[in-house]
Amino acid sequence: MADLYPYKPGEIEAIVLPDQIVGVWVNKVYKFYKVVYIEPIPRCDAIEFDFGALAAGGVTAITQLNLLEMPDREFGQFRGFVIDDITANLWQGRSDGRYKLNNRNGRLTRATDLRDPCGHTTEFYVHEDDFAFMQVLNPTDYALTQTRVAFYGFRYVLEVAVDASGRQYVWSPGKPENYPPNVWTRVPATAHL
């Protein structure tokens, strides 16, 4: 049995194998799917965002990461890093910050991959239309002409998971009708909890 799970330290790997069941956590509900296909998304210039020139101390608008949009019945697993000397905050849902603590959110900086070269602490998941957003800040005392953030990972093609009788699995907190599969992998695609 492959030892796969979300946020796994080391070079990025798929979090499940084809035919395994995932529960994608979206808006306080687990949606259960069977993975039918997995494809890698290499780190490359095509999956790189440039938020543009930014004055010293400047902050961009909260901007949708449109290149990370996923089609219906798919989710993406991404790790990211900043290229220029910027700080980058991640949201899933425009107002739900990721890397979340009680009083503050973590964010990507050029120091992030010094301590986490494999990027596993940056990992996040984008499911269908539950878009990711980013806001970039220039912490330096000079204007930047480029503010780039790059991503790489895997995409997963899904089908709705059902049991042998065709009954659909469901799970949301405290619901008596919950019916989860016996074995499944949690995919936290939004920040709610």
């Binding site: 010094l114 800040l137 220039n138 912490p139 330096t140 005392d141």
Partner: protein, 126 residues
């Protein structure tokens, strides 16, 4: 080839512009060599990692690297001993030759000659 003195990276590598010295050793006349990053959650600290200087001024120059001395209120303070940059020569000091002095301030410099061109590479810690 890596120096035996080289340590794992602690911070973010940055470089200064090429800055000309101004021959005015009195307090309040130092020149900013590297402006540290202060706009993040906390201001970063700065470690000098590499120093390059080119002296074509017609006379040998004593170059001092330190902090403060800009506003005339806080006196310039060396962070490493003065270095001599011979006329007509370049001087280069790399990290295995430089003490790991970490400052919470901009890097500034003083010199007894006008127009020595100086550039530094620093590591900024956040």
């Amino acid at each position: 080839m890596a120096s035996p003195y080289e340590q794992p990276a602690r911070g973010i590598r940055k470089s200064s512009a090429i800055v000309n010295t101004v021959a005015a050793p009195a307090v309040g006349t130092a020149v900013t060599l590297y402006q540290r990053t202060t706009g993040g959650q906390n201001p970063r600290t700065v470690i000098l990692r590499k120093l390059m200087a080119w002296n074509n001024t017609g006379a040998d120059a004593i170059l001092e690297i330190g902090q403060d001395g800009i506003d005339g209120v806080v006196a310039f303070a060396n962070i490493i001993p003065p270095v001599l940059v011979l006329n007509g020569f370049d001087g280069e000091w790399h990290e295995d030759e430089l003490p790991e002095v970490e400052i919470g301030n901009d890097l500034t410099m003083e010199c007894n000659q006008d127009g020595v061109q100086v550039q530094v590479e620093v590591e900024e810690i956040e």
